[in-house]
Protein backbone atom coordinates (compact mmCIF):
# COMPACT_ATOMS: atom_id res chain seq x y z
CA UNK A 1 0.00 0.00 0.00
CA UNK A 2 2.84 2.35 0.88
CA UNK A 3 4.46 1.43 -2.42
CA UNK A 4 1.27 2.34 -4.33
CA UNK A 5 1.04 5.70 -2.54
CA UNK A 6 4.67 6.44 -3.28
CA UNK A 7 4.18 5.44 -6.91
CA UNK A 8 1.12 7.69 -7.41
CA UNK A 9 2.80 10.63 -5.70
CA UNK A 10 5.80 10.05 -7.93
CA UNK A 11 3.56 10.11 -11.01
CA UNK A 12 1.98 13.42 -9.94
CA UNK A 13 5.37 15.03 -9.35
CA UNK A 14 6.73 13.69 -12.63
CA UNK A 15 3.83 15.25 -14.50
CA UNK A 16 4.31 18.50 -12.60
CA UNK A 17 8.02 18.58 -13.34
CA UNK A 18 7.42 17.88 -17.05
CA UNK A 19 4.80 20.66 -17.42
CA UNK A 20 6.90 23.10 -15.42
CA UNK A 21 9.96 22.48 -17.58
CA UNK A 22 7.92 22.78 -20.75
CA UNK A 23 6.39 26.09 -19.74
CA UNK A 24 9.64 27.69 -18.57
CA UNK A 25 12.18 26.31 -21.05
CA UNK A 26 10.18 26.47 -24.25
CA UNK A 27 9.85 29.98 -25.70
CA UNK A 28 6.30 31.20 -25.95
CA UNK A 29 5.01 31.66 -29.48
CA UNK A 30 5.25 35.30 -30.50
CA UNK A 31 2.28 36.44 -32.52
CA UNK A 32 4.15 39.26 -34.27
CA UNK A 33 7.31 37.35 -35.13
CA UNK A 34 6.50 37.38 -38.84
CA UNK A 35 5.41 40.99 -39.00
CA UNK A 36 8.63 42.40 -40.44
CA UNK A 37 8.80 39.79 -43.19
CA UNK A 38 5.17 40.43 -44.07
CA UNK A 39 5.76 44.18 -44.20
CA UNK A 40 8.61 43.78 -46.68
CA UNK A 41 6.45 41.40 -48.73
CA UNK A 42 3.74 44.06 -48.84
CA UNK A 43 6.27 46.65 -50.04
CA UNK A 44 7.33 44.24 -52.78
CA UNK A 45 3.74 43.52 -53.81
CA UNK A 46 2.70 47.14 -54.02
CA UNK A 47 5.73 48.65 -55.71
CA UNK A 48 8.05 47.35 -58.39
CA UNK A 49 9.91 50.64 -58.50
CA UNK A 50 10.61 51.31 -54.79
CA UNK A 51 14.37 50.57 -54.92
CA UNK A 52 14.81 52.46 -58.18
CA UNK A 53 13.38 55.71 -56.89
CA UNK A 54 14.60 58.02 -54.12
CA UNK A 55 13.12 57.54 -50.68
CA UNK A 56 13.51 53.78 -50.28
CA UNK A 57 14.79 54.16 -46.71
CA UNK A 58 11.73 56.10 -45.59
CA UNK A 59 9.40 53.62 -47.31
CA UNK A 60 11.15 50.72 -45.59
CA UNK A 61 10.97 52.43 -42.21
CA UNK A 62 7.31 53.19 -42.77
CA UNK A 63 6.58 49.57 -43.63
CA UNK A 64 8.91 48.06 -41.01
CA UNK A 65 8.93 50.33 -37.92
CA UNK A 66 11.26 47.86 -36.12
CA UNK A 67 13.94 48.21 -38.79
CA UNK A 68 17.43 48.82 -37.39
CA UNK A 69 19.19 49.32 -40.71
CA UNK A 70 18.80 49.07 -44.47
CA UNK A 71 21.53 47.70 -46.72
CA UNK A 72 21.03 48.77 -50.30
CA UNK A 73 23.41 49.48 -53.17
CA UNK A 74 26.40 48.88 -50.90
CA UNK A 75 25.26 51.56 -48.46
CA UNK A 76 23.97 51.01 -44.96
CA UNK A 77 21.31 53.34 -43.60
CA UNK A 78 21.13 53.04 -39.82
CA UNK A 79 17.70 53.67 -38.35
CA UNK A 80 18.31 52.96 -34.69
CA UNK A 81 21.16 52.25 -32.30
CA UNK A 82 20.07 48.69 -31.87
CA UNK A 83 21.60 45.39 -32.75
CA UNK A 84 19.61 43.68 -35.44
CA UNK A 85 18.36 40.32 -34.31
CA UNK A 86 17.12 39.18 -37.67
CA UNK A 87 18.08 40.03 -41.21
CA UNK A 88 15.38 39.98 -43.86
CA UNK A 89 16.51 39.81 -47.45
CA UNK A 90 14.55 40.50 -50.58
CA UNK A 91 15.33 41.03 -54.23
CA UNK A 92 13.58 43.43 -56.56
CA UNK A 93 13.99 42.00 -60.06
CA UNK A 94 13.25 45.17 -61.99
CA UNK A 95 10.46 47.47 -63.02
CA UNK A 96 8.55 48.64 -66.08
CA UNK A 97 9.71 45.79 -68.27
CA UNK A 98 13.38 46.02 -67.39
CA UNK A 99 15.21 43.20 -65.66
CA UNK A 100 17.57 44.91 -63.20
CA UNK A 101 17.79 42.93 -59.94
CA UNK A 102 18.77 44.71 -56.73
CA UNK A 103 19.16 43.32 -53.23
CA UNK A 104 17.43 44.93 -50.29
CA UNK A 105 18.51 43.80 -46.83
CA UNK A 106 16.71 44.97 -43.72
CA UNK A 107 17.99 44.36 -40.19
CA UNK A 108 15.23 44.18 -37.64
CA UNK A 109 15.49 45.00 -33.93
CA UNK A 110 14.86 42.22 -31.46
Amino acid sequence: MRALEAFLIGVVFSLFAAYACASTLLAPPAAHRHAASRALAWLLLTSDSAPYLPGLASRVLEAVPDAAYLDFNGTRTQFANATADVTIRAVWLGCNGTLRPVEVVVGVKP
Binding site: I9, V12, S37, A41, W42, L44, L93, N96, L99, E103
Partner: protein, 203 residues
Protein backbone atom coordinates in the same frame (compact mmCIF):
# COMPACT_ATOMS: atom_id res chain seq x y z
CA UNK B 1 -12.60 7.44 -1.83
CA UNK B 2 -9.62 7.41 -4.19
CA UNK B 3 -8.72 3.81 -3.90
CA UNK B 4 -9.62 1.11 -1.42
CA UNK B 5 -6.02 -0.04 -1.38
CA UNK B 6 -4.79 3.36 -0.12
CA UNK B 7 -4.89 4.27 3.54
CA UNK B 8 -6.71 7.47 4.62
CA UNK B 9 -3.35 9.22 5.24
CA UNK B 10 -2.06 8.13 1.86
CA UNK B 11 -5.17 9.43 0.13
CA UNK B 12 -4.81 12.85 1.77
CA UNK B 13 -1.13 12.92 0.89
CA UNK B 14 -1.89 12.10 -2.73
CA UNK B 15 -4.68 14.70 -2.89
CA UNK B 16 -2.36 17.28 -1.37
CA UNK B 17 0.31 16.45 -3.92
CA UNK B 18 -2.18 16.87 -6.79
CA UNK B 19 -3.48 20.20 -5.45
CA UNK B 20 0.06 21.46 -4.84
CA UNK B 21 1.14 20.50 -8.35
CA UNK B 22 -1.85 22.19 -9.97
CA UNK B 23 -1.42 25.31 -7.83
CA UNK B 24 2.26 25.59 -8.68
CA UNK B 25 1.58 25.13 -12.39
CA UNK B 26 -1.11 27.82 -12.36
CA UNK B 27 1.19 30.18 -10.45
CA UNK B 28 3.98 29.51 -12.91
CA UNK B 29 1.65 30.13 -15.81
CA UNK B 30 0.55 33.52 -14.45
CA UNK B 31 4.16 34.58 -13.77
CA UNK B 32 5.29 33.91 -17.33
CA UNK B 33 6.24 37.09 -19.12
CA UNK B 34 5.75 37.16 -22.89
CA UNK B 35 9.05 37.48 -24.68
CA UNK B 36 8.21 38.61 -28.21
CA UNK B 37 10.97 37.95 -30.67
CA UNK B 38 11.53 38.60 -34.34
CA UNK B 39 12.63 35.49 -36.12
CA UNK B 40 13.39 34.50 -39.65
CA UNK B 41 10.27 33.29 -41.33
CA UNK B 42 9.64 31.97 -44.77
CA UNK B 43 6.26 32.48 -46.30
CA UNK B 44 4.78 35.77 -47.45
CA UNK B 45 8.04 37.19 -48.77
CA UNK B 46 8.72 34.13 -50.93
CA UNK B 47 5.23 34.21 -52.43
CA UNK B 48 5.55 37.97 -52.98
CA UNK B 49 8.80 37.38 -54.89
CA UNK B 50 6.98 34.97 -57.22
CA UNK B 51 4.13 37.43 -57.77
CA UNK B 52 6.65 40.19 -58.42
CA UNK B 53 8.44 37.99 -60.99
CA UNK B 54 5.16 37.23 -62.78
CA UNK B 55 4.18 40.91 -62.84
CA UNK B 56 7.58 41.92 -64.23
CA UNK B 57 7.24 39.31 -66.96
CA UNK B 58 3.82 40.61 -68.05
CA UNK B 59 5.20 44.15 -68.17
CA UNK B 60 7.51 42.92 -70.92
CA UNK B 61 6.89 39.36 -72.18
CA UNK B 62 10.04 39.65 -74.30
CA UNK B 63 11.94 39.13 -71.03
CA UNK B 64 10.75 35.50 -71.01
CA UNK B 65 9.45 34.00 -67.81
CA UNK B 66 12.25 31.44 -67.57
CA UNK B 67 14.81 34.23 -67.63
CA UNK B 68 12.99 36.25 -64.98
CA UNK B 69 12.70 33.21 -62.71
CA UNK B 70 16.34 32.28 -63.33
CA UNK B 71 17.33 35.76 -62.13
CA UNK B 72 15.20 35.30 -59.03
CA UNK B 73 16.60 31.87 -58.21
CA UNK B 74 20.11 33.18 -58.71
CA UNK B 75 19.51 35.23 -55.56
CA UNK B 76 17.88 32.31 -53.82
CA UNK B 77 21.31 31.00 -52.81
CA UNK B 78 23.19 34.21 -52.12
CA UNK B 79 20.38 35.89 -50.19
CA UNK B 80 19.11 32.72 -48.55
CA UNK B 81 15.59 33.49 -49.73
CA UNK B 82 14.53 29.85 -49.36
CA UNK B 83 12.26 29.99 -52.37
CA UNK B 84 10.48 26.76 -53.11
CA UNK B 85 11.15 25.17 -56.50
CA UNK B 86 8.29 26.39 -58.67
CA UNK B 87 6.98 25.70 -62.12
CA UNK B 88 4.40 27.92 -63.77
CA UNK B 89 1.66 28.16 -66.37
CA UNK B 90 1.01 31.34 -68.36
CA UNK B 91 -2.29 32.48 -69.80
CA UNK B 92 -3.55 35.61 -71.50
CA UNK B 93 -6.59 36.64 -73.46
CA UNK B 94 -8.06 39.68 -75.18
CA UNK B 95 -11.62 39.91 -76.49
CA UNK B 96 -11.80 43.25 -78.32
CA UNK B 97 -14.97 45.09 -79.27
CA UNK B 98 -17.30 47.75 -77.93
CA UNK B 99 -17.39 45.70 -74.79
CA UNK B 100 -14.83 43.10 -73.96
CA UNK B 101 -12.28 41.86 -71.50
CA UNK B 102 -8.72 40.71 -71.19
CA UNK B 103 -6.44 39.11 -68.68
CA UNK B 104 -2.88 38.05 -67.94
CA UNK B 105 -2.35 35.14 -65.62
CA UNK B 106 0.59 33.27 -64.13
CA UNK B 107 -0.14 30.27 -61.97
CA UNK B 108 2.66 28.59 -60.04
CA UNK B 109 2.50 25.02 -58.84
CA UNK B 110 2.95 26.29 -55.26
CA UNK B 111 -0.55 27.84 -55.22
CA UNK B 112 0.70 31.34 -55.98
CA UNK B 113 -1.27 33.12 -58.71
CA UNK B 114 -0.83 36.45 -60.43
CA UNK B 115 -3.96 37.59 -62.28
CA UNK B 116 -4.48 40.93 -64.02
CA UNK B 117 -8.01 41.39 -65.38
CA UNK B 118 -9.81 44.18 -67.10
CA UNK B 119 -13.17 44.66 -68.80
CA UNK B 120 -14.67 47.59 -70.58
CA UNK B 121 -17.90 48.78 -72.11
CA UNK B 122 -18.65 51.52 -74.59
CA UNK B 123 -20.74 54.24 -72.96
CA UNK B 124 -20.58 57.00 -75.59
CA UNK B 125 -18.56 58.85 -78.22
CA UNK B 126 -17.23 62.36 -78.58
CA UNK B 127 -14.90 64.35 -80.79
CA UNK B 128 -11.60 65.93 -79.88
CA UNK B 129 -9.01 67.87 -81.83
CA UNK B 130 -5.72 65.94 -81.68
CA UNK B 131 -2.66 67.40 -83.43
CA UNK B 132 -4.97 69.66 -85.44
CA UNK B 133 -7.16 66.78 -86.58
CA UNK B 134 -10.74 66.27 -85.43
CA UNK B 135 -10.75 62.74 -84.02
CA UNK B 136 -13.63 60.59 -82.83
CA UNK B 137 -13.04 59.07 -79.41
CA UNK B 138 -14.98 56.29 -77.79
CA UNK B 139 -15.78 56.72 -74.14
CA UNK B 140 -15.38 53.46 -72.26
CA UNK B 141 -16.18 52.43 -68.76
CA UNK B 142 -13.20 50.35 -67.63
CA UNK B 143 -12.69 48.09 -64.63
CA UNK B 144 -9.13 46.96 -63.95
CA UNK B 145 -7.54 45.06 -61.09
CA UNK B 146 -4.66 42.81 -60.08
CA UNK B 147 -5.32 39.80 -57.90
CA UNK B 148 -2.43 38.14 -56.06
CA UNK B 149 -3.21 34.79 -54.46
CA UNK B 150 -1.00 32.80 -52.12
CA UNK B 151 -1.60 30.28 -49.33
CA UNK B 152 -0.22 32.76 -46.78
CA UNK B 153 -2.67 35.59 -47.45
CA UNK B 154 -5.48 34.22 -49.55
CA UNK B 155 -6.19 36.83 -52.19
CA UNK B 156 -5.11 40.47 -52.38
CA UNK B 157 -6.70 42.81 -54.90
CA UNK B 158 -4.88 45.93 -56.09
CA UNK B 159 -6.23 48.64 -58.36
CA UNK B 160 -3.17 49.90 -60.24
CA UNK B 161 -3.07 53.34 -61.78
CA UNK B 162 -3.19 53.54 -65.59
CA UNK B 163 -1.94 56.09 -68.08
CA UNK B 164 -1.63 56.58 -71.80
CA UNK B 165 2.01 56.65 -72.95
CA UNK B 166 0.88 58.32 -76.20
CA UNK B 167 -0.90 61.06 -74.26
CA UNK B 168 -4.02 60.89 -76.45
CA UNK B 169 -6.60 59.17 -74.26
CA UNK B 170 -8.67 60.98 -71.67
CA UNK B 171 -8.51 59.03 -68.42
CA UNK B 172 -10.54 59.65 -65.30
CA UNK B 173 -10.45 57.51 -62.17
CA UNK B 174 -13.72 56.85 -60.39
CA UNK B 175 -12.36 54.68 -57.59
CA UNK B 176 -12.27 50.97 -56.72
CA UNK B 177 -10.61 50.08 -60.03
CA UNK B 178 -13.23 51.85 -62.17
CA UNK B 179 -12.24 54.33 -64.86
CA UNK B 180 -13.63 56.34 -67.71
CA UNK B 181 -11.35 56.18 -70.73
CA UNK B 182 -11.80 58.22 -73.90
CA UNK B 183 -9.72 56.47 -76.54
CA UNK B 184 -9.53 56.66 -80.35
CA UNK B 185 -12.00 54.31 -82.01
CA UNK B 186 -11.17 51.65 -84.56
CA UNK B 187 -8.67 49.32 -82.92
CA UNK B 188 -7.78 48.08 -79.44
CA UNK B 189 -6.13 51.03 -77.77
CA UNK B 190 -3.11 50.38 -75.52
CA UNK B 191 -2.85 51.83 -72.03
CA UNK B 192 -0.18 51.12 -69.44
CA UNK B 193 -0.55 50.48 -65.73
CA UNK B 194 1.83 51.68 -63.01
CA UNK B 195 3.78 48.41 -63.24
CA UNK B 196 4.36 48.80 -66.97
CA UNK B 197 1.75 46.22 -68.00
CA UNK B 198 -0.06 47.07 -71.24
CA UNK B 199 -3.80 46.63 -71.39
CA UNK B 200 -6.11 47.31 -74.33
CA UNK B 201 -9.57 48.79 -74.52
CA UNK B 202 -11.98 48.91 -77.44
CA UNK B 203 -11.41 47.43 -80.85
Amino acid sequence: MLSPSLGRGGQFLLLAAVILAISLLLALQSLRVPRPRVAAYYGELQSAELVHAARLYWSNPALEMDRVLAALYEYNESLNLVLPPASYALGSSLHPGDSGYGYYRTEYNVSVVFHAYWEWELVGTYSKRIAGVETRLNNYSLYYYHSYSAPQWGSIVLYPGIWDPAGVADIRYLGEGRWYVGAPAGAPYPLEDEFGITIYVGG
